[in-house]
Subunit: 300 residues, 2 copies
Amino acid sequence: MTKKNGYRVCAVQMSMGPSGEDNHARAMNLVRRAAAADAQVICLPELYRWPYLCQREDISLFDLAEPADGPSVTDFRSLAAELGVAVIVPFFERRGPGLYHNTAAVIDTDGALLGLYRKMHIPDDPAYFEKYYFAPGDLGFRTFDTAFGRVAVLICWDQWYPEGARLAALSGATSLFYPTAIGWHPAEKEQYGALQRDAWTTVQRGHAVANGLYVAAPNRVGLERPYDDLAGIEFWGGSFIAGPQGELLAQAASDREESLVTEVDPAHLEEVRRNWPFFRDRRVDAYGGLTRRWLDGTAE
Amino acid sequence: MTKKNGYRVCAVQMSMGPSGEDNHARAMNLVRRAAAADAQVICLPELYRWPYLCQREDISLFDLAEPADGPSVTDFRSLAAELGVAVIVPFFERRGPGLYHNTAAVIDTDGALLGLYRKMHIPDDPAYFEKYYFAPGDLGFRTFDTAFGRVAVLICWDQWYPEGARLAALSGATSLFYPTAIGWHPAEKEQYGALQRDAWTTVQRGHAVANGLYVAAPNRVGLERPYDDLAGIEFWGGSFIAGPQGELLAQAASDREESLVTEVDPAHLEEVRRNWPFFRDRRVDAYGGLTRRWLDGTAE
């Protein structure tokens, strides 16, 4: 199904229920269906196996973490090999006692684990208490050579940071995947909902433009309210795939599961980058300040 | 007219005719009118004084350049002082014999020249032969403390580079100005026009989101065809001002002159940055690669 070494990427938008086993089985099934629709690199939403865990700080939830050779990744390695697809599997990684990450495994068509991406930018916000659960990633901004093409994975909060997208592009990625769990606080949805979701889409489309590559962002969809005393989060769906001029090639609804499949066309990417040769003119001599937190003179 | 130290910014969208004197007089008048509409920091389009100079490589055009104490800047310093406004004046800078820049002067309400910004990223593209005319800027990504607030100026091609916007934000700018001269090659407009302009708008709205600040982009508008044997450029207007969530606060048409005025509200900026605290979580330890041109191992 490839065209001139193009490849077909898929963003799986899912709703998660309370049962990890059930979410896992449904995710396996969605990947199977995506492969049947000729998808080749298939990405699940952030931490697909569980209801979004970080709505409060609950020490018992660390029981849910698993290592990179745990059942989530292992099952998808078998499935990827069976189907001949690459799969990006976000999971709650237990790396050691008291050391956890928000991670994605990149699995190739033969079931090989190409490597891990550990979420680099960790948010912390009421109902998104991620700094309690996850140590910041220490593997950097990586790319992975799947059988179909070189891809990069970043996770959710990373999507607000142009730095991560740029570093992935400089390493040769032709597509960026952003498995995501983002939604509305129910009390804010009416007033701020459209603006927030539009900002989320816009900043990622901006990464596609600035770097001349494809961006796929699979999000959760639907209300998750695991605690009666909390209002929960309404995940806003709106998963999308954008092309190298930021054009929306596919976008999902905000109220149902949906899998998006589009072609990554290297010839189009080549053409866009020849016409808009941003990499030629970067002022690498003048970007040193980017490695500082704030340019106020209070630190070197 | 300020509200809690807010200030009102203006993006002037202009059409340029063949006469530099006439363009200059009309620009002065547009600034006068913007001030009458309570604008406080007023920005003209890139190289407002002339038809866009770089459609071919013509050595005689260097005659048009002027130093920072030449008539363009001097006239606006007088006008700024008279009106009590800050003005951003892009001009073709002659810095020395054989050394020219694409520059903007930032002038404060008392007529003081706060400083220059020299375009850092220089494009070069058929009909935009800027590398012939302009040496790359060597003043870095700067901010300017006007009487109303701290602003940054970047110019046109800079707008495709998240690095410039980020560095300006890290230096405390609350608004970014992008004086611009961008348009369609007439032969491409029908097929690619909407996509190109949307990409241009999107990437800059993305900078507003990623940095939580205001972005104002005054562009030229209308066809400029100074050479009969060339098709010219149809400048696409569409000047806009976006807020810190990327929201379009004002946007100009694509076929006429128009001046946009909106409020920069520091209280809103503060609220957005508290709710979306991107600066807190930047991985400055992992951004070193941004100062390299490409991460392919062929250079250090």
